[in-house]
């Protein structure tokens, strides 16, 4: 599988994603520089976390205009797989590839901690190895992770089953205290209608080895690997 990791000015987690894919999972990975045009064949593009353009003005607001993003948008429209983590999620929302947006945490403070997440749908290439209701323990680290969408959009997300991850407590229940940033409906990750673009605030790439405290992040990457393997793609579409 060929993965491309897009490097924006101010990206911080691109090396973490690279390490996780290449060193832990043995995948082929290349960095893609934001000033270049998107060329070549990719099985999945990852927009990593960090602070593209310093998060100045609004997180993701300027990153979305990087030259490479034109190609990313086209690639996504054609059904290519795109994963946006944290700042990558924010960029995808700003670029209109995902609904809604991410605003300042309700606490108004940056939040770095381990959280529990519940997989809400498994019929996507990002979660196909998970089961509905399965819990993941992943780190979050963001100041603007509060998911917001207008009521109509939110309704549509629920109906179309585009909410893929919710913040929950250790028993798997959604509750205000399990919500680290004030996200509407405890939303931690959403996909687009075509289910080929996924954005999430937690960092699966930082939870891929037991020495780091959790390996749950592998679920997402290996789901993608499975989805791209022979026959895998069919499986999640059904």
């Amino acid at each position: 599988m060929h993965w491309g990791v897009i490097v924006f000015p101010g990206s911080c987690d691109e090396q973490d994603v690279h390490y996780c894919l290449s060193d832990v999972l043995g995948q082929k990975v290349k960095y893609l520089w934001h000033k270049d045009r998107l060329e070549g064949n990719w099985d999945c593009l990852v927009l990593p976390g960090g602070f593209s353009y310093g998060d100045y003005l609004r997180p993701g607001a300027m990153g979305r205009f990087s030259p490479i993003m034109q190609g990313v948008v086209e690639y996504a429209r054609k059904g290519g797989l795109v994963l946006g983590i944290c700042n990558g999620f924010q960029i995808l929302c700003e670029a209109g590839l995902l609904p809604g947006t991410l605003v300042r945490n309700a606490s108004l403070r940056f939040a770095c901690r381990q959280v529990f997440l519940r997989i809400e749908e498994s019929n996507t290439p990002f979660t196909c190895l998970g089961k509905k209701g399965m819990l993941l323990r992943l780190p979050i680290k963001h100041g603007d992770g509060c998911y917001y969408a207008d009521p109509l959009t939110l309704e549509r997300l629920r109906k179309e089953k585009q909410i893929l991850l919710r913040y929950v407590d250790s028993k798997g229940k959604t509750s205000p205290s399990a919500n680290p940033n004030g996200s509407l409906d405890n939303i931690a990750g959403v996909c687009n209608e075509a289910r080929n673009v996924f954005g999430l605030m937690p960092h699966p790439e930082d939870a891929v080895e037991s020495v780091l405290g959790s390996e749950d992040g592998l679920k997402i990457f290996s789901s993608l690997m499975n989805a791209c393997s022979k026959g895998g793609r069919k499986a999640w579409r059904e």
């Binding site: 000015p9 101010g10 990206s11 911080c12 987690d13 090396q15 973490d16 390490y19 996780c20 060193d23 000033k35 976390g49 960090g50 602070f51 353009y53 310093g54 998060d55 100045y56 403070r109 940056f110 939040a111 770095c112 901690r113 381990q114 780190p139 680290k141 100041g143 960092h203 790439e205 930082d206 891929v208 080895e209 020495v211 780091l212 405290g213």
Partner: protein, 744 residues
């Protein structure tokens, strides 16, 4: 826009007032005249003023710093460069340093702390190392002071805001609150980077004819030496040219970091240095000094953010996110093209010369000409007088007979856990990204942080410690204890010390009592370092932390770096399993001087700090390390402020899951408050399966470490027979909220 002509500027008369407003004494001014054989112009005076300032010249501390042991088998670079370097094996080197940013953080807490982090990051990547972990050591006033909460929020926000954005995890630190810091907070920032052993860079201007290149942010009137504001020459247009508070731009720093590391992969670079305090002036002169060369600058080539800046301002500006490079002649365009990839300025602003002079031109006209050595190694050095404070004896007197033991020790414990100094620091470190770079094995919340070194089995452990109250009561002992505690914290996670960096935060060196404290602390640190085999590889001195003639407690902070041969063998402080034995390594003495208990419960800062026997300290640390290496410990936690009862509570409640109860029986015959809350040194609480106790006993005997089985993990209560019996959940709630509730 009106411009101040250079000519007017450099020919302003140098009156005694102007000299004084530059912080120079009459004798120092005479020395300048002797060196130059003439009067300096104002630009030159400004240069001398910053280069001979305490901050740049270490004129009061130099003589003492020599006492610290700076050598050891693993030391690749001791003090004197931008950061210290130790060997970590596998062809890798750890590069680290700590710096203070106290005064700016008091004036503007968010930006002051942020730019402090920015500065220390540059000191580390300057050496060719990618920063991979940061620590911060903070001191604030008491929460009774109205400004404290505001300062805490600003400083913590600034450290997080900058460090997170640059993508360097903040993995640990410390925070204390005490009235002594009400008007002088301390913000000490530490960064560690990793480099290949063979590709370290130094701040050297070598090779006559090589180019000096300026890279990074543009120059504004940021933080220009405050003294200049008062000088006559500046009265005109004063408002416009008023020095401004430095604002950090972590985005630019991140670009600069990536561009510099990219450049260092190539063969274009001869030397590199961050433009920190005294900006372009100190970076160029220090590089020339180390390279035994001179420099010639053309200031009109410096990228400026504001109009009408004078040579004086350009040379002394402390704008952030700038670096000075010495580039091989002919490689300038290649350097430019690397920086343009990150949209950063890279311009030639001068060259290396043979004449060992600092020369600055402005549009071709010479505006400053000073021998390099006059600004560096020949700067004044003072041996300040020292005097033991008159009230030191009185302060050290503590008659325990007059101190009432609390009737209800459970309530006393709860009161202590509610102290912001002892409660959880989670409110602080939640705001720091400690996961980025996916190396973090032990995040904040343990005795030391642990990060793994990719592609090896090793780990690095980091901690920062220092207790100003101990140093106030006895500088020598306080200095020694800071080193001992740091090493002990490393031992608790299973790491052996490699080296340390320190910040020495004191009052005015012109005060003999302060110099007496300084001298004592240094000697204590030296003896601690020698006894425990830890070299000092970098550090920083911050004097003048005083207001209205009252200095802060002498406060050294010691950041120590250790190594774990097998990172997965690390140990955490909290209890793991019901039924495990609780063991105390070390012994408790009847002592309460300088304790948090005495302060919180009796309102006293008195007595002498805890006693330390270095042989015993070594034995306890070795025993803990050996036991961790053998893999027989379930947990290890050192006993520090708050004593045994607080440390035991932490073992019960600090873990990620539900708190575990404990049942303790103590047999020592002594005052109950000293037994529970005294801060005797050289103690570590470990938990261990019963069947492994004998193996621990063997190790303890061999190392000569006292060992007492004091109880057992289990239940939902915190029990110390027969004095305390409380639900652990209740203790956890108090401990978790102590800091947060004061910051609502």
């Amino acid at each position: 826009m009106a411009r101040v002509s250079t000519a007017d500027f450099s020919h302003s008369p140098i009156t005694p007032d102007v000299v004084a407003s530059h912080g120079l004494t009459v004798e120092e001014y005479q020395k300048i005249e002797n060196i130059l054989g003439r009067d300096p112009n104002l630009t030159e005076l400004g240069i001398f003023s910053v280069m001979w300032s305490e901050h740049c010249s270490y004129k009061s501390s130099k003589a003492y710093l020599k006492l610290l042991p700076t050598e050891g088998p693993g030391v690749l670079q001791g003090p004197g460069e931008n950061a210290g370097v130790v060997d970590v094996g596998d062809g890798l080197a750890a590069v680290f340093k700590m710096e203070s940013h106290n005064h700016p953080s008091f004036i503007e807490p968010y930006q002051g702390a942020a730019t402090g982090v920015g500065g220390i990051l540059r000191d580390v990547f300057t050496m060719g190392a990618r920063p991979i972990a940061s620590l911060n050591s903070l001191r604030f006033g008491s929460f009774e002071d109205a400004r404290t909460a505001y300062l805490v929020k600003g400083v913590v926000g600034g450290i997080g805001g900058y460090g997170n954005c640059v993508g360097v995890p903040t993995v640990g630190g410390e925070v204390y609150f005490d009235e002594t810091y009400n008007a002088n907070i301390l913000v000490n920032a530490f960064t560690l980077g990793l480099a290949k052993k063979g590709s370290l860079f130094k701040g050297r201007a070598k090779g006559v004819g090589n180019s000096l290149m300026y890279v990074g942010a543009k120059t504004g009137r940021d933080g220009i030496h405050g003294a200049t504001m008062a000088s006559e020459a500046f009265s005109e247009e004063a408002e416009k040219r008023r020095p401004t508070v430095q604002v950090g731009d972590p985005f630019t720093e991140k670009l600069l970091l990536e561009a510099c590391l990219k450049l260092m992969e190539k063969d274009f670079l001869v030397g590199i240095q961050d433009m920190g305090a005294a900006g372009l002036t100190s970076s160029s002169t220090e590089m020339a000094e180390r390279g035994r060369t001179g420099v010639e600058l053309e200031l009109s080539n410096v990228p400026l953010r504001e109009q009408g800046m004078t040579p004086y301002e350009i040379l002394l500006s402390e704008s952030q996110e700038r670096m000075l490079l010495v580039v091989k002649r002919g490689c300038e365009d290649k350097v430019k093209s690397i920086f343009s990839r990150w949209d950063l300025d890279a311009v030639v602003v001068g060259r290396v010369t043979r004449d060992r002079l600092f020369r600055a031109l402005f549009h071709g006209t010479e505006v400053a000409r000073i021998p390099i050595l006059a600004l560096t190694s020949e700067a004044p050095v003072y041996s300040r007088s020292t005097e033991r404070p008159k009230d030191q004896d009185e302060v050290q007197r503590l008659d325990l007979k007059n101190i009432a033991e609390p009737k209800d020790l459970g309530t006393a414990l709860k009161t202590l856990l509610d102290s912001p100094n002892l409660g959880s620091k989670e409110w602080v470190y939640r705001q720091y990204d400690h996961f980025v770079r996916n190396n973090t094995v032990l995040a904040p919340g343990s005795d030391a942080a642990v990060i793994r070194i990719k592609e090896t089995k090793k780990g690095l452990a980091l901690t920062v410690d220092g207790n100003g109250r101990y140093c106030y009561l006895d500088p020598y002992v306080g200095g020694l204890l800071a080193v001992a505690e740091a090493a002990r914290n490393l031992a608790c996670v299973g790491a052996k010390p490699l080296g340390l960096s320190d910040c020495l935060n004191f009052g005015s060196p012109e005060r003999p009592e302060v110099m007496w404290q300084f001298s004592g602390v240094i000697q204590g640190m030296r003896d601690g370092c020698i006894a425990l085999g830890v070299p000092v590889v970098s550090g920083n001195v911050s004097f003048y932390n005083e207001t209205s003639g009252v200095p802060i407690y002498p406060t050294p902070t010691v950041a120590m770096v250790g190594i774990l041969a097998k990172v997965e063998r690390h140990v955490t402080p909290w209890f793991k399993s019901e039924g495990d034995n609780v063991v105390l390594l070390g012994s408790t003495r009847e002592e309460l001087g300088g304790s948090e208990y005495l302060k919180v419960f009796h309102g006293l800062v008195r007595g002498t700090p805890p006693w330390i026997d270095l042989k015993l300290e070594r034995a306890v640390q070795r025993c803990c390390l050996k036991a961790i290496e053998k893999g027989i410990l379930r947990s290890a936690h050192d006993v520090s402020e708050g004593g045994l009862a607080v440390a035991l509570t932490e073992c019960c409640v600090a873990g990620p899951g539900r708190p575990l109860g404990v049942r303790i029986e103590l047999r020592e015959m002594m005052r109950t408050d000293a037994l529970l809350f005294g801060e005797s040194q050289s103690r570590i609480i470990v938990s261990i399966e019963g069947k492994k106790l004998n193996r621990l006993r063997e190790i303890a005997e061999k190392e000569g470490a006292p060992m007492h089985v004091i109880g057992e993990v289990g239940g939902t209560r915190f029990v110390v027979q027969p004095m305390i019996r409380l639900p652990v959940e209740e203790l956890k709630t108090i401990w978790c909220n102590a800091l947060e509730k004061r910051l609502q």
